[in-house]
Symmetry: C2
Subunit: 178 residues, 2 copies
């Protein structure tokens, strides 16, 4: 018998050095072309922490043919709602939403930032009527798309991208690019 | 010639439906066998948000032969310090650290939770001398390993796993499994 060679540094089950293959998903959503550095923000918008068993993978700052660098996020067993997609558009205006069913791309949707935004974020002006009175939905014109910047229809105050990010991610979060 | 079948919903560049291959890393660290649901906690301990261009990928709640479900985190161009590994041990006591150099696993290290922990977290008892006087390093005996629970060497107060998580992730974070 030849002596058994020991390979203490390698495991046969998963050669992590070469490639990390993330398992196929049979159904779910792939969000790609996320603005580089914003994948965690997308997870946060979707309320995904991993704590509830969600099968999710993300890649940050990987090469993209179109965008230079981008992030990708892949969520199993969940198709995003239009409200979720609208919120993602605020942080990742160039993203693409791929709905997967039965291992195939069932639908591919380029995110579009609309001309007007309603109710997703609050106006940056604390004195704005939309912040002072209940039952009034915020309404903005989109003044810039990359990054998204909004002007209030009521008080004309501009809500900056940083402010939008802070609102969508929760005040305490610093995941956004500063 | 047979007619070409059109597949309008598919992009030739990246067939995201089938598999998301995360690019090889030439150098860096793969943390695998992370307790399921804690990959984002590991990123947070490492201060990784993606905003600084870090090339990082994670997979959450994927199947593992050993653990049932696990998380994996892959960080390019960075070898973790022993202090970082010690902090990861508090949230992912069964993790394995793979140092990658030149596309190969240079070193594989199973995380071990030590018998005693110094200075990584604070004692849960606000009146403990380690919290009241400066220059005294916290010291704990490990009373449980999965999940990690600590007993203070000074006041004997037990610091719970939830408290440890909250400290390591910042008070406002709720990424931990509750």
């Amino acid at each position: 018998m030849t002596p058994k060679r020991t390979k203490p540094a390698q495991t046969p089950a998963l050669d992590v050095s070469k490639e990390l293959r993330i398992q196929k998903i049979s159904a779910g959503t792939v969000v790609d072309h996320i603005t580089a550095g914003y994948a965690l923000a997308v997870l946060q918008i979707l309320g995904i922490t991993g704590a509830n068993g969600e099968v999710v993978s993300i890649a940050m700052n990987v090469q993209s043919q179109k965008l230079g660098k981008m992030d990708v996020s892949k969520v199993e067993g969940r198709e995003l709602t239009s409200d979720e997609i609208n919120r993602i558009a605020m942080v990742a205006p160039n993203a693409t939403i791929n709905i997967i069913r039965n291992y195939e791309v069932h639908q591919k949707q380029r995110i579009t930032v609309p001309d007007h935004v309603e109710g997703i974020v609050r106006c940056a002006n604390p004195s704005c009527i939309t912040n002072r009175e209940r039952g009034i939905t915020s309404r903005f014109a989109v003044v810039e798309r990359t990054p998204v910047t909004l002007r209030c229809n009521y008080c004309q105050r501009v809500t900056s991208h940083d402010n939008i990010i802070a609102q969508l991610l929760g005040k305490s979060q610093q995941l956004a690019q500063q």
